[in-house]
C-alpha cells in the first residue's frame, strides 16, 4: 500500500510537470488557443503513462512507442470530433518525450572527438546517445502514425 501511494505520487508529479512543456511548445507552434487545453491533457497523459511503463521495467523505446501510440489514438478521436488535423494535438503532446539531451550529447561528443582526438569513451558516448536518439524518435513518430497506418491507410482522417 505504501509502495502504491509512493508510485501514485511520483506519477502525479510527473503528470503535473509534463503539461507545461507540452503547452509551451504548442505556443511556439502557434496552436489555436482553444486547443491548448488538449495539448496539456495529451502531454501530461503521454509522459506520465511512459513514466509508469518505465517504472515497471519496460525499456524506454518500447514505453515511448506505447505512450505515443495511445496519444495517436486519442488524437484521432479529438481530430474527428473537432475537425482539426491530428498533428495539431499530437506533436505538441509528445514534445516532452523528445530525446533532446541524448541528441545534443551525441553531437557534442562528436565535436570533442574532433578537437581532443579519438578515444573509446567518447565514441561510446556518441554511439549510445546517438542510437538512443534515433530509436526513441522513430518509436515516437511510428506510434503517432499508427492510426493512419493501420486503420485509415491513405484515406483522409478529417
Amino acid at each position: 500500500m505504501d509502495n502504491f501511494l509512493n508510485v501514485l505520487s511520483l506519477f502525479l508529479i510527473d503528470a503535473w510537470f509534463a503539461w507545461i512543456p507540452a503547452v509551451g511548445f504548442a505556443m511556439v507552434f502557434n496552436v489555436p488557443r482553444k486547443m491548448l487545453i488538449y495539448c496539456a491533457i495529451g502531454g501530461s497523459f503521454a509522459h506520465s503513462f511512459r513514466f509508469l511503463l518505465m517504472h515497471f521495467g519496460m525499456p524506454i523505446e518500447w514505453s515511448t512507442f506505447l505512450a505515443s501510440a495511445c496519444m495517436g489514438f486519442v488524437g484521432l478521436y479529438w481530430s474527428r470530433k473537432y475537425l482539426i488535423p491530428r498533428p495539431v494535438f499530437t506533436v505538441a503532446s509528445v514534445i516532452p518525450m523528445i530525446p533532446g539531451s541524448f541528441a545534443f550529447n551525441a553531437m557534442i561528443g562528436l565535436m570533442e572527438i574532433n578537437t581532443g582526438g579519438y578515444s573509446l569513451e567518447l565514441m561510446q558516448i556518441v554511439m549510445e546517445n546517438g542510437l538512443r536518439t534515433l530509436f526513441i524518435l522513430t518509436a515516437l513518430s511510428f506510434g503517432l502514425a499508427l492510426p493512419s497506418i493501420l486503420i485509415y491507410r491513405g484515406r483522409p482522417i478529417v
Binding site: G24, V28, R33, M35, P87, I95, I108, M111, F142, A145
Partner: protein
C-alpha cells in the same frame, strides 16, 4: 457534375496550389499537403489533381476533360503555424460540403493571417517548460530557477533574431551560446546540488522537435525525399546548437557537458 471552362480550370488550379503552398510554408506534413490540395481541387470540380511535393516547391497539375493545367509555386519557410493549417483544413472541408465556391475559397485563403501568441507569454511558458525538463533530470529548486532564467533569455534572443529574419542556424547557435553562458555561471558559482543539469535542460527549447517528427512520419508514409530534407535540416539545427554549447563551455572553461 460541374462544367469548367479553361479559365475556370486555371482558377481552380490556382486556388488548390495556394492551399498547398500555405500548408507547406507553415509546416504541415507532406501527406496532409497532398490530401488537402487534392480534395480541394476535386471539390471545386477538377477530374483529378496530381501533385509533387518537394522540399522547396510544389508542382500541381489539374486534369479536366483531357485538358491539363500545370503550375508551380515556390514555398519559403514561414515558421511552424498550426493555426494556419487548421484554417486551410476547415476551408477544404467546407468546400467539400459545397458550402463555398471557387471565389469564396480564394477570398478566404487570401484573407488568412498567421496568428501569433503573445511573445512574452511564450517566453514565460518556455522558461517554465525548460524548468520542468530540469525537474525530469533530477534537479532541485535552485537548478530550476537557473534553467528558467537561462532559457527565457535564450527564447527572447531567438524571437528577436527570428523577427529580424536571421538565418535559423545562426539564430539557434547564438541562443544556445547565451543559455549555456548563463547556466555555466551557475556551475562556476555552484548554485544548487547539480548545476550541470541546468546546462542540459536550458538548451532543450532549441530541439527541432516538429521537423524531426515530421521527417520520420513523412518517410513512413512514402514521402522519402521530403523526409530526408526535413531530417537533414533538423540535424543541421542540432549541430549548430551543439556548436553554440561547445563555444560557450570553452569560453567559460567548463569541462564536459552533462558529465
Amino acid at each position: 457534375m460541374m462544367i469548367l471552362s479553361e479559365e475556370a480550370q486555371t482558377e481552380v488550379t490556382r486556388v488548390a496550389v495556394l492551399a498547398g503552398q500555405i500548408l507547406h510554408q507553415h509546416g504541415a506534413e507532406s501527406r496532409l499537403i497532398e490530401q488537402t490540395t487534392q480534395r480541394l481541387g476535386l471539390a471545386l470540380g477538377a477530374d483529378s489533381i496530381e501533385l509533387s511535393v518537394t522540399p522547396d516547391a510544389i508542382v500541381i497539375t489539374s486534369l479536366y476533360d483531357g485538358r491539363c493545367i500545370t503550375t508551380t509555386r515556390r514555398c519559403y519557410d514561414r515558421g511552424i503555424n498550426m493555426q494556419m493549417v487548421c484554417d486551410v483544413q476547415r476551408i477544404c472541408v467546407m468546400a467539400e460540403k459545397q458550402l463555398l465556391h471557387v471565389k469564396e475559397v480564394k477570398k478566404r485563403l487570401k484573407r488568412l493571417v498567421p496568428y501569433k501568441h503573445n511573445r512574452w507569454l511564450v517566453v514565460l511558458m518556455i522558461g517554465f517548460s525548460c524548468g520542468s525538463f530540469s525537474h525530469f533530470f533530477g534537479g532541485d529548486t535552485a537548478v530550476y530557477w537557473t534553467t528558467f532564467v537561462a532559457s527565457s533569455l535564450a527564447m527572447i534572443l531567438r524571437q528577436e533574431l527570428a523577427h529580424r529574419h536571421h538565418n535559423p542556424f545562426v539564430n539557434f547557435a547564438s541562443a544556445a551560446f547565451l543559455a549555456t553562458i548563463i547556466t555555466s555561471l551557475g556551475v562556476i558559482y555552484d548554485i544548487g546540488e547539480n548545476p550541470k543539469i541546468a546546462m542540459a535542460a536550458s538548451v532543450l527549447l532549441l530541439v527541432p522537435g516538429f521537423p524531426l517528427i515530421n521527417a520520420v512520419s513523412d518517410m513512413l508514409k512514402g514521402h522519402i525525399n521530403m523526409g530526408i530534407a526535413r531530417w537533414v535540416f533538423a540535424t543541421l539545427l542540432a549541430i549548430s546548437v551543439s556548436i553554440g554549447i561547445v563555444a560557450a563551455i570553452t569560453v567559460m572553461g567548463i569541462s564536459g557537458w552533462m558529465r
